[in-house]
């Protein structure tokens, strides 16, 4: 016993000491190539990464939670400004985008199913469709952002209160909602509404862009058969992420576009 320890684990001492181990080879039993060395079984590995993903989504909830809190407080304080602001959003495009995203969640779910049942072509097709639908969402969002720019509704360096202090100056919106002019003091809070609009949809769009990037990587790997040979955790976890981003949009759509629109 060269490095004879003062206190070892009694009869099991060889168990804890690498230099004395006769059974070190037993560590390398047969297992699937994707099983990482520090896990005992593929079930433990799958459980662990899915739990980690749910925790990560929890941090995302807290991240967006800060924005939703800001929305909640300011909406209560400046209700008329928020109503007038929401009239300026394009419900048609918003609804289209909601449908696009729900469809993409469906194709993503199909992708997870294809991975679990070992359908390589089906997986590549589903991921590609999700990829395209994601891009379509961003395209429509760009159209909407462009509309805001043209109407001078970008807070900070490109903002004008005229849509709210003189609603008649915007005939299309006025014809639909007959908004009364807001007092200047309340009208300036519409800039806050659009600040939140851009911060919230912008953060959401950033998550979409990251998701689309990962999707591109996954399509590339799925073509080589990476996810259809038993190790589906990555696809499943990405699916969770994609559905989460989808759910955030559904809340954004309801809060920014829909509520109190007609009263």
């Amino acid at each position: 016993m060269p490095d004879s320890p003062a206190i070892a684990h009694g009869a099991e001492r060889s168990v804890y000491n690498a230099d004395n181990a006769d059974n070190a080879d037993n560590l390398h039993v047969e297992h699937p190539p994707y099983l990482r060395h520090h896990f005992n079984s593929t079930e433990q590995q799958a459980d662990t990464s899915s739990f980690a993903m749910w925790l990560f989504l929890l941090t995302e909830v807290m991240f967006f939670g800060g924005l939703f809190t800001a929305y909640l407080i300011y909406r209560n304080w400046y209700y008329p400004a928020f109503v007038a602001g929401s009239h300026q959003l394009n419900v048609i495009w918003g609804t289209t985008n909601t449908v696009v995203l729900i469809l993409s969640s469906f194709t993503m779910a199909m992708g997870v199913w294809c991975a679990e049942t070992g359908r390589r072509k089906g997986l590549v097709l589903s991921l590609s469709l999700t990829f395209i639908l994601g891009l379509a969402f961003l395209g429509i969002k760009t159209i909407e952002y462009h509309e805001k720019w043209e109407k001078h509704h970008v807070p900070g360096f490109h903002y004008s209160l005229s849509s709210f202090t003189e609603p008649q100056s915007d005939p299309a919106i006025y014809a639909e909602y007959h908004d009364k002019p807001l007092a200047p003091d309340m009208a300036r809070h519409t800039e806050l509404y659009f600040s939140l609009y851009f911060a919230m949809t912008g953060m959401h769009a950033l998550h979409m862009i990251i998701g689309i990037g990962i999707l591109g990587f996954m399509i590339f790997r799925a073509r080589a058969g990476a996810y259809t040979s038993g190790h589906v955790t990555f696809v499943e976890n990405f699916g969770l992420y994609w559905h989460f981003v989808d759910i955030v949009w559904i809340y954004l759509f309801a809060l920014l576009y829909l509520i109190s629109r007609h009263q």
């Binding site: 804890y16 941090t59 807290m62």
Partner: protein, 559 residues
Amino acid sequence: MSTNTIVSLPDQSTARIPKDNFITRENGLLSWLLTGDHKRIAILYLISITFFFFIGGALAGLIRLELLTPQADLMATDTYNKVFTMHGVIMIFFFLVPSVPATLGNFLIPMMIGAKDLALPKINLLSWYLYMAGGILAIYTMASGGVDTGWTFTTPLSTHYVNTNVLTTGLAVFVAGFSSIFTGLNFIVTIHKMRAPGMTWFRLPLFVWAHYAASILMVLGTPVLAIAIVLVALERTIGIGIFDPAKGGDPLLFQHLFWFYSHPAVYIMILPGMGVISEVISTFSRKRVFGYTAVAFSSVAIAVFGFFVWAHHMFIMGISNYAVLVFSLLTMLVAVPSAIKIFNWAFTLYKGSITFETPMLYAFGFMGLFTIGGMTGVFLGASGTDIHLTETYFIVAHFHFVMVGGMLMAFLSGIHFWWPKITGRMYPEKLSQLAALVTFIGFNLTFFPQFILGVLGMPRRYASYPPEFQILNVFSTAGATILGVGYMLPVLYLLWSLKYGEIAGNNPWQATGLEWQTQSPPITENFVVMPVMDHEAYDYEWLESQNQAQQQEEVPSAG
């Protein structure tokens, strides 16, 4: 003191460091930079946070030097603002938050629960790279002119009125925040999913419980800081108005979002330190921690209460009187689980076989200084006294008692305690006892006068002050110098011990944790065969029976 010791080292003439361990398994810089081994990542972290600690410490030295005289004579007042801002940013985000969790926690949690590694080794490595990226950004900020908002990024100062590097500092904190999120997430997943057979929740060492509670705070709190920083950055760059009164926003909302993280962050910093103290107190009193379950749950209680006290940072910022009332009450509640810990450690000492090795000296330092730091927190939690004391040196002294007196003492205690496990060698005992003493004296001399200065009304964050405050400031600066010596000593003798320290053997302290039942330094897989936990935590009778069984086994082989 010296005759009474539990240290049991192997025979130095024959002992050697095991040839195969996590340090020798692979060689070369790349084997470190691309490692997935939690122990190697812990060492990467240890080197990095020590580096940032000394940058932050040097800035603290500059602050104290400036305050030696009543006039602002060492540096311009703008420079002074930048120095204390960077001192705060670096010490909080690049030292205190990752200090114990990312080094000792990273190293020990898998070993304490009987696992081969953290659940997500790549995420663990990613977290170190994010930390370094954030750290480099922070250094870039300093090199390119610094930032002078204070570490709190208070709006509208940070969004409208300063033209220093708010964006790069914000980005540095944002990136380092993700490093912290990933560390916390990794710990929670590991503690849930990777425990060895027989390692039930109530057999976990209290170190693990403390880290679990701190991880909850990291995972739930840090994203809120992230979004607050994003909004400040958007306001500064493109001019959205969420915190801007001119556009209808409210700067108070920033304070809410910021302190929703930054108050729990003080528990992120202190809870892992409390975990260290539980281990050390038990080992050097040879007793199971008194009221194990209460101490375990008190960690979780601190984490939960910690989320509902943030507005006590805002008593003078115009929140409503009712909010002050509620948050004041909730703040007092945090004292309950903190007191449970202190009392239970005291009862653990009662009738224990106490010895005074260095980790224990630091632990005593922690108990005393944290108690003072915590009690003065009650003054600040009560709104009446808070209005007088906030933004004075009283508050500076208060949080330095908790953070430096508490957390840094716990960190040093833990580093000394597990140094033999990490390196396989002992630190020099006499010298380190001296360092612990020097640190304690230097600390009290530095920060105790600041309580008095605060009560007398000296405001924080000014480079100059009325001449009648000078004598106390001279004490404080003198103390800081002694404190600096106290921190330099461990660096020197710990580096020395890497080559010349005595061989420690598996379990020099005769401690009970699983990490002590494997070789020092451990092999990459920690244990050759997965351990099975068949006894409670801190079961010294179990350890005794193991020793006897081993002695009986050795007698025939010797003959």
